[in-house]
Amino acid sequence: MADTQEIIAKLFPQATFEEGDILTVEIPDSQWHDLAETLRDNGELSFDFLMTIVGMDWVEKMGCIYYLTSTKYNKRIAVKVATEDRVNPALTSIADLWHIAGIYEREVYDFFGIIFINNPDMRRLFLSIDWKGYPLRKDYDASPETNPVPEDNERQSDFTQVYTRDADGKIECKEERIFAENDFVVNIGPQHPATHGVLRFRTAVDGETIKKIDVYMGYIHRGIEKICENLTYPQTLHFMDRLDYFSAHPYHHCLCMTIEEAAGIEISRRAQVIRVMMDELSRIASHCLFIGTFCMDLGATTMLFYALRVREQILDIMDKTCGARMTFNYECIGGVMQDLAPDFVEDVKALLKIIPQNLKEYDKLFTGNVITKNRMEGVGVLGREEAISWGVTGPSGRASGWACDVRKTTPYSIYPELDFEEVIRHEGDSMARFKVRMGEIEQSARILEQLVDNIPEGEYCVKVPKVIKLPVGHWFRTVEGCRGTFGVYLESDGTVNPYRLKLATPSLPAAAVVDSLTRGDKIADLITIGGSLDYIVPDIDR
């Protein structure tokens, strides 16, 4: 850490530092773009992966915290940029340095009203054009009268705004067209079978060939981050089930870990093992469903039913222990809610027995098929550099040759003791993304095999205080969800409620990358690419 700090301090004397588990740098906005460029391009730093941008409202000032990771040195850094103007807050955009930054900045603009100068597309992301106010600001008027349920169709604009700063430092707004004037624009979604929920693509096509896609999100934006600010810490947990409902366990795990770390709670080994086993079980279930829905998108409906058979078996195991099929709310602060069901070990062993057979069956039925190969190989190739710049993590990132598995890079819980491989492929196409997931099922099964006979005795939940209060401070923890790196940013002001809870989900980058992957491909490829990226819409919108 020291040398990072030294390098930055030498180049940017105005920067101030704050030590912690992650080094936090504070920099004035005027130097932020230069610092960002240095952080990315300096060979000794090479912070090339922008994990998330956390918009913040500290009441007296507003700003952003940028979390960056160096994939080369496996280091993390946080940069704080703030402005004191609450009426017309503006910061400098870094959309030209990281592809994904453009989308993250739109999110911050949507929630806090901070304008990013030079961002090529400064529209709202989740809320509609006519939405009044910026909901995550502390002074937002949440009464339903301000924004009643709309009765008419949403107003649609073909223009986007670009803000620039002229020589005198004044901010200018320019309108630009999203599509060319004569484009044939097909509206795919929000209610469309291929979007896996309610995502909307406005697609400019030339015959069957896609020219440009404009992604609209927010059709299931539920404002979880804002609701959490008014809840106590244990109450916030159950929302983790409803983000990416397939990785409910890993997401729970992440938030629990963050709160436990902040409150200084040590949990028992038994609880750790149970949590990891549940994570891996849900990973298998999630990838099974991915295989099924992906094949259904390609037109092979039967595969869905084959894949769902395994998933049902896993859901049975979960059902017996957690008492629910999908929204478990199982992990709690201090451990897990209840002990394992008596026949848990037996059921997991039965499951492990059938997984290799089933994988072989899927291979025979689907992967080896000529049509499948033609549809998937070489379609939607995402290079390693691109994947990092877009922040596409998880199996999709690993299919592009980027070793981004959080279980390996920044291990948590008992993962360092476990013996498993990180599945990496280098083709970067849809087929690689599919095969990585098949491989991960095997690896997860391997982890389960190591653990199933070695569940230690002990208490499943340690005693925690009835009212959990966290000390003042901020924490950022990540886990490997089923779809990629899931991060929780938690800021506490010392009360029972979180001051700010930011959820950095892996599906948002996956949906954002669709445009650049599909250009020049056919409409049918959009379905393949979208399916292989495997985004979950509530996970995008939160």
Partner: protein, 195 residues
């Protein structure tokens, strides 16, 4: 399904009684029976899912629960061809006009099942600034199905209730759907439920 086998909803029972009190013409009555037999046995869902409940709806179609047994598996993607819309998941402000439009695009006779806590009342997102507190604010709902998400068994039960509701409809003269929901509830109070 024999009608007697699932005669467990008193509210619908009282509706049936009221309808039959007025008596029916022999010819028209038997036509009605035939039509209702067809309609209640062939209810095709619209593929519509916003979140978690949608995945349980997929499970409903899969081998274990297999809604094809009842003939509900012909999920149509086009609202013109579907019979009912299962609002599976949260509806937010931005989605509300879209759902409304989908409902308008359905061809008569059309039905709505509010599936899951979010669609019934806003559920866990009651305090959100962007969630519609129950789809009945936007479209008329025929069957409410609580649960978060409801288990597939519950979904089967909900669609069976819908099928029952269709069975007591009248095609010729006075379709009870055309009454506004508030008026209907005023005239047919549910015992034990105020307002």
């Amino acid at each position: 399904m024999p009608y007697e086998a699932w005669k467990d909803n008193e509210y619908i029972e009282s509706l049936v009684k009221e309808l039959q009190d007025n008596g029916a013409n022999v010819v028209v009555g038997s036509f009605d029976k035939l039509i209702n037999w067809g309609r209640s046995n062939s209810i095709w869902p619209l593929t519509f899912a916003t979140s978690c409940c949608g995945i349980e709806f997929v499970s409903l179609g899969a081998a274990r629960y297999d809604m094809a047994r009842f003939g509900w598996e012909v999920a149509r993607s086009s609202p013109r061809q579907a019979d009912f819309i299962m609002v599976a998941g949260t509806i937010v402000h931005r989605m509300a006009p879209v759902l409304r439009r989908l409902y308008d695009q359905l061809a008569e006779p059309k039905y709505v099942i509010a599936c899951g806590a979010c669609a019934v009342s806003g559920g866990p997102f009651k305090k959100s600034y962007h969630v519609v507190m129950g789809v009945d604010k936007i479209i008329p709902v025929d069957v409410y199905l609580p649960g978060c998400p409801p288990r597939p068994e519950a979904m089967i039960y909900a669609i069976m209730q819908l099928s029952r509701k269709i069975k007591v409809e009248k095609f010729f003269g006075g379709v009870n759907r055309q009454e506004k929901q508030e008026e209907f509830l005023k005239n047919h109070p549910i015992p034990g439920v105020e307002d």
